[in-house]
């Protein structure tokens, strides 16, 4: 859990989003930050969705036609830059966000996880906070 200095060979980030889209500004602030990160030549190791942030990975969001569709914007960014996007499994299950695996496991009527997001445990966050140069949190404001 030691930090590299900025002049180290490879500077990398883990981004953690805990605020939901269309409720907080967190996902959009995080996306602007993420774009600036890759534009500066840094690596994003992983984007981790926690708490209400898991709603960003919903495949069923329909944004009004004159509003930005934040889940799709994020999904496109993750695909373009091959960044893993992970929703915390405990947060996701409680909030009704499931992939096909969890759908079967809990015998639910549907799944609603937007690709390329995946569902995984807090270990992914722990790993990010150990290995990345910086872990930056994007919480809901107020």
């Amino acid at each position: 859990m030691t930090h590299s200095t900025p002049d180290s060979e490879k500077t990398s980030f883990t981004l953690v989003i805990t605020g939901a889209p269309y409720s907080s500004q967190a996902p959009q602030t995080a996306l602007s930050f993420a774009k600036a990160t890759v534009a500066a030549g840094h690596t994003i190791d992983r984007v981790f969705l926690y708490g209400d942030g898991v709603h960003l990975a919903s495949a069923l969001v329909t944004a009004p036609s004159d509003e930005t569709h934040w889940p799709k914007q994020w999904a496109a960014f993750l695909e373009e830059h091959e960044v893993p996007g992970v929703a915390c499994i405990a947060s996701a299950l409680r909030r009704g966000l499931v992939d096909s695996h969890e759908q079967k496991r809990y015998q639910l009527g549907a799944n609603n996880l937007l690709a390329p997001f995946a569902i995984a445990g807090l270990g992914e966050w722990v790993e990010g906070s150990i290995k990345s140069t910086r872990t930056i949190y994007f919480h809901a404001g107020a």
Partner: protein, 93 residues
């Protein structure tokens, strides 16, 4: 190399309890980056200005504050990324 001890990213309004919690933990070599509703601290909080303060230009503009004579250096996201790397640690409030 690391003159900046801790960068505090603050996105809460000055009325939110976490705003004052943040101000209560500022050290002399720290800096504050105001984002989202946190930029409203520049028109309402008297406790800012004790440490180096930055504010996101896009959030100032959205809130009609970009032309004001504010006690903060305006930054864009690229500068915010740099600040997170210059600091020894980053805390998002």
């Amino acid at each position: 190399m690391n003159q900046l001890h801790t960068l505090h990213i603050l996105n809460k309004t000055p009325d939110h309890p976490r705003f004052s919690e943040c101000l209560g933990t500022l050290g002399p070599d720290d800096a504050v980056a105001l984002t989202e509703n946190g930029v409203l601290g520049l028109v309402a909080s008297k406790a800012l200005g004790l440490v180096q303060t930055y504010a996101l230009e896009s959030d100032l503009s959205a809130r009609g504050l970009s032309d004001d004579n504010l006690e903060a250096a305006t930054i864009d996201y690229s500068e915010l990324v740099n600040l997170t790397l210059q600091a020894e640690r980053v805390i998002s409030w």
